[in-house]
């Protein structure tokens, strides 16, 4: 049997068990490990409710570490962060489950609020998601709570934390994302197919309008900060939770919403179109009335959308003194 080594002075349950049995029964431990291994072979993240948690995590004879995510995944809870964190946690657990170094030293489990709310009460926890590590020996300490606010929930960060706490190195292997290459392949196939269908009439490849239009699209996409969106992933717009007001423009000049960049793209395009219209009005051979309308529309577009853009810029860049038509 196992002696005192299994627990420290402060571990109350350990002491009570010892008081009860006088020793920690080896059979109970091996039984639990077998059970855990069986579950782990079925799914990499073991789902736990209150009873299971008490029996396999809280109750004393335990020689394995547990990494547990406390979460609220039920749709009525509306926890978007939980869902993202869950995906990352699954990636981590799968990387561990299918790695060659897989042992029964560490198990990954999750407790959903709607299945084990008593566990949440027991641990005096009121936010989800939370990651806790239950070491194989002793009670969880401060550093056994993962600092979600500081480190984020990327699987790599979680793996570093797990390595730190349990000395188990997990190489995170993400399932490859086929969406991008597939989409690209599809696009190329469509273009190739179109070219093949029209192989006797490839005139459209020499069409300047098509090329000019696509070049303009690219330029407008870049100048409106879509690359920033792509890299930083900002929200589409911000909804103020107390008033319910939706703001499309970010208040600071250092950041932007996706909606805002779409607006800017449209405004830039409108000014560009105004300039082109002005030139077309002067050079095209349509009748004079139409050309006058084109000319007025062109200058109107340039003036209106530029001053509008300027006013948005002014709202974002505090202390900017100039405005035009609109403040």
């Amino acid at each position: 049997y196992k002696d005192v080594a299994g627990c420290t002075m402060y571990d109350d349950e350990c002491k009570t068990t010892k008081r009860k049995f006088g020793f920690i029964p080896e059979t109970l431990l091996s039984e639990k490990v077998t059970q855990m291994m069986e579950w782990a072979s079925k799914r990499s993240v073991i789902r736990m409710n209150g009873d299971k948690f008490r029996r396999f995590v809280k109750a004393p004879p335990r020689n394995y570490s547990m990494v547990i995510m406390f979460t609220a995944l039920q749709p009525q809870r509306q926890c978007g962060v939980c869902r993202q964190a869950d995906e990352e946690f699954q990636v981590l657990a799968n990387s561990w489950r299918y790695s060659s170094a897989f042992t029964n030293k560490v198990f990954f489990a999750s407790v959903d609020f709607d299945e084990g709310s008593d566990v949440f009460q027991m641990l005096n926890m009121n936010s989800a998601p939370t990651f806790l590590h239950f070491p194989s020996k002793g009670k969880p300490r401060r550093s056994d709570t993962y600092e979600l606010q500081v480190r984020g929930f990327a699987a790599e960060q979680l793996a570093r934390w797990v390595a730190d706490r349990t000395d188990v190195q997990i190489r995170v292997i993400r399932p490859p994302n086929y969406a991008g290459p597939l989409l690209l392949g599809f696009l190329l196939a469509v273009i190739g197919g179109l070219a093949y269908l029209r192989r006797h009439n490839l005139e459209f490849l020499f069409n300047k309008n098509v090329w000019a239009f696509s070049a303009l699209c690219f330029v407008l996409i870049m100048t409106s900060g879509q690359m920033w969106n792509h890299i930083r992933g900002p929200p589409y717009a911000h909804k103020n939770p107390s008033t319910g007001q939706v703001s499309y423009i970010h208040g600071s000049s250092q950041a932007q919403f996706v909606a805002e960049t779409h607006i800017v793209l449209l405004f830039n395009a409108a000014v560009t179109m105004g300039m082109v219209l002005l030139c077309e009005a002067a050079t095209s051979d349509m009748d004079i009335g139409k050309r006058k309308i084109m000319c007025v529309a062109g200058i109107g577009l340039v003036m209106l959308f530029f001053s509008w853009l300027l006013s948005i810029f002014r709202a974002k860049y505090h202390g900017y003194p100039y405005s035009f038509l609109m403040s």
Binding site: V150, G225, W228, M275, L278, A281, T283, R291, K292
Partner: protein
């Protein structure tokens, strides 16, 4: 002083506006000039005997005013403060230039700088782009030869503004080649004052980019010229300009990729001609050989992946030319078999190369810089685009549209330039610099086309302007692809009709509004330059409520203290940001500096800063540190100080020493970074904290706040009782911005007390007991 400042401000605005509006008024004349010598009876020059002479005088004076506006709007910092080198990197450039002028060119190439990266040192001659230093040194030499005795510092300070004038001229030349003279003048005015370029070229910002943009534009001008003429003369000029660019800035890679791309796209568009063949073959060979003469570049052009595109296009062009040659010699049937053979051979070679490159890992390297830049450098928000380019960012797509609609060889080039530069600027905010010139050119094209149609008088011109076609020697291409001359003719006749139709009212309204936009652009540029880009950051200024100004000169005060009061070979430890300044101003040895090539060394300094005093002392002893210099902004509320940068030190140290330094130790349990009582004890006892707040707890800045109140972080500090064992305060500047500590030598061994000797065994016994007790406690606590 304030009045003087306001006056100068007004002057700048006026000159900038003058540039814009004079230029606007000149539109019809300039457009006529661009049209060429055929017409010559423009309305503006009616009554003048030699209109061509007037036009060139007008263009010259506009160009001169643009250069002047560009030069003077970069002088805000000089007028407000003094002629001083700005920021960090320029200090290194200045120091190297100084070394060059005092010791000569060859000594500079062989310079081993033992004052940097102690104890490693740095081979400066082989690890810098020498173009900047040589340029400044040469100007200084010539001026001194003429007995105009100027200090090298003034040459360095005013180099960037002078070169921005040259950039305006080369932009004018390039745009004139692409569109017409009017657009060229407009582009010159834009580039002279646009903030995206001023941000890197104000007086005192003595950095590579200041001269590199001139070299970039001039190389492109000569390239376009050589593609247009197909003459070796222009191509050699292009190579020399490229050589200058390579010697000046690492951004030459942009040129060596854009020009091959241009040639490649021309081949795809079936615009191959002998001119292109001559231009590119000469450029590639001569340019390659010249670029390899720079020690820092060396054999990179034939080794690294970013130069491989140029080599590939060179091979392709030779093959294509060879096939063209065979086409003339062989029959159709023979040629077709040969063609298919050649294509399959080429495809096989390309395939094998790709496989080889993939296996050797070179292919992956291509992507690494982009990935690295994405994660390390900030991508660009639309606000930055608008801030740096204002109206130009909205209008330059229109210019691009006109260029693509009236395409020819050189407009293909500018379109590719715009598309690639806008991509890089979107990825990385620093590369806005390479986007700015092309935006200026294309916006100028857009504005110029509008003005051309709306500013002309209603009197009819007799003859359409006949622009000289770029491909006189290539009849075939000009026949079916270059229909420019015909187009222009048509276009002008339509314009005449339009002039009859649109009427003077509409036209003058459009013109007025357009001029108003340009005026707003000039005002915006002046405001941005004055407020955002004209701070030297070595000298700070604060303004009181009544508008009077305080100059905070703490940095220089501290650096001169170091220079005057410490041993010549003293080693100063600081965070890497201040390495160049310490070397440049204090002339003392530094451990790390802004040339961040050795991460482990930086991490060691970071570790010393973030450990407790005794651990830090060991590190500092091992690095022979004599003084430690830190920046502390808590007294004046300066936010760029070392406590605010501190987490970076911790992170970098953690990257190299994960066992000793942990970022999470410096946060509160709630994950906050706080310097007050609630802050983490590790933070409150680390060396950086102690050095920053030593004696600060006694200091009451204000009657409303308690003593030891940090104005930058708005908190009362948590550890007011700071005592040092191994360090002592050596110097604190007037506003406490810079604090310097001396690292003490090891203490003498304490003399043994005779009385204690007799009780040694007894003491040993008690200590053991005490130790045992402590152990037990620890165990309990666990």
């Amino acid at each position: 002083m304030a009045e003087h400042h306001a006056a100068s401000d007004g002057k700048h605005k006026a000159s900038a506006n003058a540039g814009g509006s004079v230029h606007g008024n000149s539109r019809p004349g300039a457009a006529g000039g661009g049209g060429g010598g055929g017409g010559g009876k423009g309305g503006l020059s009616g009554g003048l005997t030699q209109p061509a002479g007037w036009q060139s005088l007008l263009s010259f004076s506009i160009l001169f005013l643009a250069c002047l506006a560009g030069f003077s709007s970069r002088l805000f910092a000089v007028i407000r403060f003094e002629s001083i080198i700005h920021e960090f990197d320029p200090w290194f450039n200045y120091r190297s230039t100084h070394h060059l002028t005092t010791n000569g060119f060859f000594e500079f190439l062989n310079w081993f700088d033992e004052r940097a990266w102690y104890p490693l040192g740095r081979i400066v001659g082989g690890t810098v782009y020498p173009g900047l230093m040589v340029t400044a040194g040469l100007i200084h030499y010539v001026l001194n030869l003429l007995h105009i005795t100027v200090h090298i510092r003034d040459v360095c300070v005013f180099l960037a503004p002078v070169f921005s004038g040259l950039t305006a001229i080369s932009t004018f030349l390039l745009t004139r080649e692409l569109w017409n003279q009017g657009a060229g003048l407009l582009a010159a005015c834009f580039i002279a004052i646009v903030p995206g370029y001023i941000s890197r070229s104000v007086a005192g910002s003595f950095d590579n980019e200041g001269i590199a943009i001139f070299a970039l534009q001039f190389t492109y001008y000569l390239w376009v010229k050589s593609v247009k003429t197909g003459s070796v003369f222009w191509t050699i000029g292009c190579c020399l300009s490229y050589f200058y660019m390579v010697s000046a800035w690492g951004g030459y890679v942009f040129i060596i990729n854009l020009i091959p791309l241009h040639v490649f796209v021309l081949l795809l568009m079936q615009r191959y001609s002998r001119r292109v063949y001559i231009a590119y073959s000469t450029f590639y060979i001569v340019g390659l050989i010249l670029s390899m003469q720079i020690p820092f570049v060396g054999f990179q052009p034939i080794r690294t992946s970013e130069h491989m595109a140029a080599a590939g296009v060179f091979a392709l062009l030779q093959a294509y030319a060879f096939l063209q040659y065979l086409k003339d010699r062989l029959t159709r049937q023979e040629f077709q078999t040969l063609f298919f053979l050649g294509v399959s051979l080429a495809a096989g070679v390309v395939f094998l190369t790709v496989i080889y490159l993939t296996y050797t890992g070179i292919y992956a390297k291509i992507h690494i810089p982009i990935i690295a830049s994405v994660s390390e450098h900030q991508p660009t928000t639309w606000v930055s685009f608008f801030f740096d380019l204002h109206i130009l960012v909205c209008t330059f797509p229109a210019g691009l549209w006109f260029c693509i609609k009236n395409i020819n060889d050189e407009r293909v080039f500018v379109a590719l330039y715009a598309i690639s530069a806008v991509y890089f600027a979107g990825v990385m905010v620093r590369l806005m610099l390479t986007l700015t010139p092309v935006v200026c050119m294309l916006s100028a094209v857009a504005f110029s086309s509008v003005f051309e149609h709306y500013m002309g008088d209603d009197t009819k011109r007799e003859k359409p302007p006949a622009e000289d076609s770029s491909d006189e020697d290539d009849k075939r291409n000009s026949g079916n692809l270059y229909d420019k001359a015909g187009k222009v003719r048509k276009h002008v006749s339509e314009q005449e009709k339009a002039e009859e139709g649109l009427g003077p009212n509409v036209k003058s309204i459009v013109t007025m509004l357009m001029l108003m936009l340009l005026m707003m652009f000039a005002v915006h540029c002046t405001w941005v330059t004055s407020n955002a880009y004209s701070s030297p950051s070595v000298v700070l200024a604060s303004y009181n409520h009544d508008g009077t100004r305080n100059i905070l000169d703490d940095f220089r005060e501290a650096y001169y203290w170091l220079r005057q009061n410490t041993d010549e070979h003293a080693r100063v430890m600081s965070w890497w940001d201040y390495g160049y300044q310490i070397a440049g101003m204090a002339n003392r040895t530094t451990l790390v500096d802004n040339n961040t090539w050795n991460n482990s060394h930086i991490a060691l300094v970071g570790k010393a800063m973030s450990s407790n005093e005794s651990a830090a002392y060991q590190i500092m002893r091992s690095l022979d540190v004599d003084y430690v210099l830190i920046i502390f902004g808590g007294v004046i509320g300066y936010s760029g100080d070392d406590i605010n940068k501190f987490l970076w030190m911790v992170r970098i140290a953690e990257g190299e020493h994960p066992k000793d330094i942990r970022e999470s130790d410096y946060f509160t349990p709630q994950g906050e970074f706080r310097v007050d009582k609630a802050g983490s004890p590790t933070l409150l006892n680390c060396l950086m904290y102690k050095m920053s707040y030593y004696r600060f707890g006694e200091m009451q800045l204000d009657f409303r706040t308690p003593p030891g109140f940090d104005r930058t972080r708005n908190a009362e500090i948590g550890n007011k009782d700071i005592k040092f064992k191994h360090l002592e305060e050596a110097f604190t500047s007037e506003h406490w911005l810079v604090r310097i500590y001396k690292v003490k030598n090891l203490d003498n061994r304490e003399p043994l007390d005779h009385k204690l000797r007799s009780v040694v065994p007894k003491q040993k016994y008690t200590s053991k007991k005490v130790a045992g007790h402590i152990l037990f406690c620890c165990f309990n606590q666990k």
